[in-house]
């Protein structure tokens, strides 16, 4: 019996040691060494010496024990310098090395016109004529400049010369013309065609100048910034073998195992990229992805779980970063055909009942920024007075409900995007907020394959959704997620709403104007109507969270969460 007890005790000890091994690595590494052993002296001595050096702290302590035996113990505490600081000092890019990273699940397709969950790889292989800069505005890329015609019906791109495709052919105006035609083509159901609905085609001015024509005035640059140029001859295999002008050339894709890109020697940016190779490994499990980074088997990852962001931030040799806010936001959206959300007072009450700060702190673990007005401050359409259009005010929400004829609240159910994750988490917090004003809300977590048909078919009363239309131009907000194009209007808004014709007209005017100040005024008024009507409740910006080892430098992500490795380098 005693043996058994002893055995159990040992087992528990081993078990707890195993578990303790799993803790997050502490900030600086502390190494303790016992150096001096036992010395016998004649009488009691007490002496403490302390000495500090830059990276080494020596503590000598004397402990008196029985029988006048003094054990002198010297503990050397070596505090290793934080690598982050040490490495940030060396800013000279180093050539070579392989960057191992994970974007999460495996790739679905490499066709650049599909925006599927792992589309963030695109700038590694593909590039567009222009790109979105860090300031949230467009900047030249494959095209060194562009001019919009005075009538706003065409845009001329001046392409750089000597840009090579990975297949060894030079990119010219013909490739851009073909890309525009491919982007306009709606026959293969890709995502870019929306942005080229008004494009009528492109014409060649000369080998490096191309003019894209449109049937109506409207925003053009968001489309051009997402139109990755790839050679027509690569189309047949483009879904499994990307070919573009990007800094890395496709080497192999082993589904489920790795995607490999090697340095493109003929890349148009002189001296770039610095890296020799990029290996992207699918690691679908979030925890495992983090452990891979901590163990050093990958150097960077996308998709840090919100709850673990702080943990990773505390790790000494890892940097955590978010893509700039402004493209996507978490939201609750209402179907205004479904009672009681057909009543604007109820919708406003729903807006006042939400405690965004609590959602940000609990559901998003402080990792996302609350938002009321769905524009980032970097947008020219941002209206500062709307930033606190709705504040958390349950009393006001109750009053509005009473005024709407629901003094005791009501019962409803919420469609949730995905069976688990942040959309469910934010809904759970909101559920409590609503319970406080008498609204009983059932949550319906729904797998994506069933969620989208339900959403598109307006088969919901209220949904926990992610929205924003990934455009720099403010029109995207209105024409995409918020309303107006008939095919995306899952909010059930029709001309029967008295305010809707005016709202649509403001948006149409905003689109058709070439004067930015004038456009700003139209969008201001449209946004005001949208906020008053309150069918779309933004909660927080949805940013892609990345983490990378401090060996990695110049790791750039844009507003869309895309990864740019042109200037990325590794400390060797």
């Amino acid at each position: 019996m005693r043996t058994k007890l002893l055995f159990v005790a040992v087992l528990i000890l081993v078990f707890s040691m195993l578990v303790s091994c799993g803790g997050a690595p502490a900030a600086p590494e502390v190494i303790e060494k016992t150096v001096v052993e036992t010395v016998i002296v004649e009488k009691e001595v007490e002496k403490v010496v302390e000495k500090e050096v830059e990276v080494e702290k020596v503590v000598k302590e004397t402990v008196v024990v029985e029988k006048e035996v003094v054990v002198e113990k010297e503990v050397i505490v070596e505090v290793t310098a934080e690598p982050a600081q040490a490495e940030s000092e060396s800013t000279e890019p180093q050539l070579g090395g392989t960057l191992n990273m994970s974007l999460g699940p495996d790739f679905i397709t490499f066709h650049p016109y599909f925006d599927v969950s792992t589309a963030q790889f695109k700038p590694i292989f593909y590039e567009a004529p222009i790109r979105i800069g860090d300031d949230g505005d467009f900047e030249p890329w494959l095209a060194e400049s562009w001019e919009e015609s005075e009538d706003g019906l065409s845009i001329t791109l001046n392409l750089r010369q000597g840009i090579m495709f990975h297949n060894g052919r030079e990119m010219t105006a013909d490739d851009v013309i073909w890309s525009v035609d491919h982007a306009r083509n709606t026959e293969f159901g890709h995502h870019l065609s929306d942005r080229f609905l008004l494009a009528t085609g492109a014409e060649k001015i000369d080998d490096y100048t191309v003019k894209i024509n449109y049937s109506e005035v409207g925003p053009k640059l968001d489309g051009i910034a997402t139109m990755q140029i790839f050679p027509q001859e690569a189309l047949d295999d483009i879904e499994t073998a990307p070919v573009g002008t990007g800094p890395f050339k496709f080497e192999e894709w082993v589904p489920g195992d790795r995607l490999v890109g090697v340095k493109f020697e003929d890349y148009w940016q002189e001296g770039l990229p610095y890296l020799d190779k990029v290996v992207i490994k699918p690691i679908p499990d979030e925890q495992s992805r983090m452990l891979n980074l901590m163990a050093g088997s990958i150097d960077a990852l996308r998709g840090v779980p919100l709850a673990d962001k702080t943990l990773l931030e505390q790790a000494p040799d890892i940097t955590v970063t978010s893509s700039p806010a402004g493209f996507f936001f978490y939201a609750f959206i209402m179907n205004i055909n479904e009672p009681p959300f057909d009543n604007p007072l109820v919708r406003q009450a729903m807006n006042y009942a939400i405690d965004r700060e609590k959602i940000a702190q609990t559901a998003f673990h402080g990792a996302e920024v609350p938002v009321v007005e769905p524009y980032p401050e970097t947008s020219w359409a941002y209206v500062s007075e709307f930033a606190d259009f709705y504040t958390y005010d349950p009393e006001k929400a109750k009053e509005l409900l009473a005024e709407a004829g629901y003094p005791d609240g009501f019962k409803t159910s919420m469609l949730i995007r995905g069976p688990s994750g942040p959309y469910l988490d934010q809904a759970q917090v909101y559920q409590q907020d609503l319970a406080a004003i008498g609204i009983e809300m059932e949550l319906l977590p729904t797998e994506l394959a069933q969620y989208f048909p339900a959403l598109i078919g307006s088969e919901f009363a209220i949904a926990s959704h992610g929205t924003g239309d990934a455009t720099v131009d403010p029109s995207g907000l209105f024409e995409g997620a918020a309303c107006c194009r008939p095919f995306r209007n899952f909010f059930g808004i029709t001309d029967n709403e008295t305010w809707f014709p005016e709202y649509k007209e403001l948006i149409a005017k905003g689109r058709a104007s070439l004067d930015r100040e004038e456009r700003k005024a139209y969008y201001h008024d449209a946004l005001e109507i949208q906020m008053e009507q309150g069918w779309n409740i933004p909660t927080a910006w949805r940013q892609e969270i990345f983490a990378y080892s401090n060996r990695v430098h110049n790791f750039r992500t844009d507003m869309g969460g895309n990864i740019w490795l042109n200037e990325t380098w590794l400390s060797q």
Partner: protein, 314 residues
């Protein structure tokens, strides 16, 4: 026995056809289709329709099935709906990984379970018996995702001995390949050992109290001979049934373990195919799983005959 095996193999064909119809119907009945998922929430009806046409989903379901069957008869399992990758190639990449992991896990499971279960039964109430019970209870209780994470923390982060994920090519990096196999195989092997140990122990205990064991002992046979020749062989029948079922489970894909260790097996492929409703991959991988189960079942049945000569198949 040979004739019996061939007969059983031939029987597998109609079973597979019936199963294929069932699987085809079920996966097309699940709400949501690949065109809608691929097109996303911003899609127009035209975009979705274009994708449906491209995927051949606008044809009647029986016609889609016949096209699939015709392709399969010529050895072509079709192409991924979402990226056009040949399903044959995809499965051929994944199956070896799955089989390798299943075999490694089975070896680990057997190596742990046999000595532990047999000795525990031979010495009931002993320290080993206590240990085997504790081991089984703990391994049953510990979920595989937790054990997997714990192993990564220990062997990858703490001791830096094993890679936390991936499966390098055996031809290029044989050592790294074997190292990457250890943790997933151990995770699955321990779970398997837990079950096998319990079955083996109780089956052995049962057999050891049978008359023929007493007779063997009274004949003056050595204990070793009694255990090895008389007891174990008879105790193995129920154990082999469990073993067969577990191998079937492993071949159908250890989805969680494959995800955590990023092991490119059939399980992960199936999950991805489900979430994207990639019917061609899903159909092929489910058919593989069914086939693997049937084959393992047949092998299990044949093994009965080898272990116990009284079992004869006509």
């Amino acid at each position: 026995m040979g004739k019996y095996a061939i007969k059983r193999l031939i029987q597998i064909i109609p079973v597979l056809i019936i199963v294929s119809i069932a699987v085809f119907s079920i996966i097309h009945l699940i709400p949501g289709d690949p065109a809608e998922i691929m097109a996303g929430s911003n899609a127009t009806d035209e975009q979705v329709a274009a994708l449906r046409h491209q995927y051949g989903l606008d044809k009647p379901i029986w016609s889609q099935y016949l096209i699939w069957l015709e392709n399969v008869a010529t050895g072509n399992l079709g192409y991924s709906l979402t990226n056009g990758f040949p399903v044959n190639k995809l499965l051929l990449q994944r199956i070896p990984a799955t089989i390798e992991l299943a075999i490694a896990a089975a070896i680990i499971g057997t190596l742990i379970a046999f000595p532990l279960g047999i000795i525990a039964a031979l010495k009931p109430g002993s320290f080993i018996d206590f240990f085997s019970t504790l081991f089984s209870a703990l391994s049953f209780a510990v979920p595989s995702f937790w054990l997997a994470i714990l192993l990564i923390l220990l062997f990858s982060l703490q001791f830096k001995l094993l890679p936390p994920s991936g499966r390098p090519d055996f031809s290029e990096e044989p050592i790294e390949h074997l190292k990457s196999l250890i943790m997933p195989a151990l995770t699955l092997g321990i779970a398997m050992a837990a079950k096998l140990t319990r079955y083996l122990r109780s089956s052995m205990l049962d057999v050891l109290h049978q008359d023929y064991v007493r007779t063997a002992r009274s004949k003056g046979l050595s204990e070793r001979s009694v255990v090895v020749r008389h007891a174990i062989r008879n105790a193995l029948i129920p154990v082999i049934t469990v073993f067969g079922l577990q191998i079937g489970d492993l071949l159908s894909g250890a989805i969680i373990v494959e995800s955590i260790f990023s092991w490119p097996g059939v399980g992960r492929l199936t999950i991805q195919a489900i979430s994207w409703r990639d019917y061609s991959i899903l159909q092929a991988s489910v058919m593989f799983i069914v086939f693997a189960f049937l084959l393992v079942n047949l092998l299990t049945d044949l093994t009965y005959g080898l272990i116990n000569p009284r079992i004869r198949y006509e």
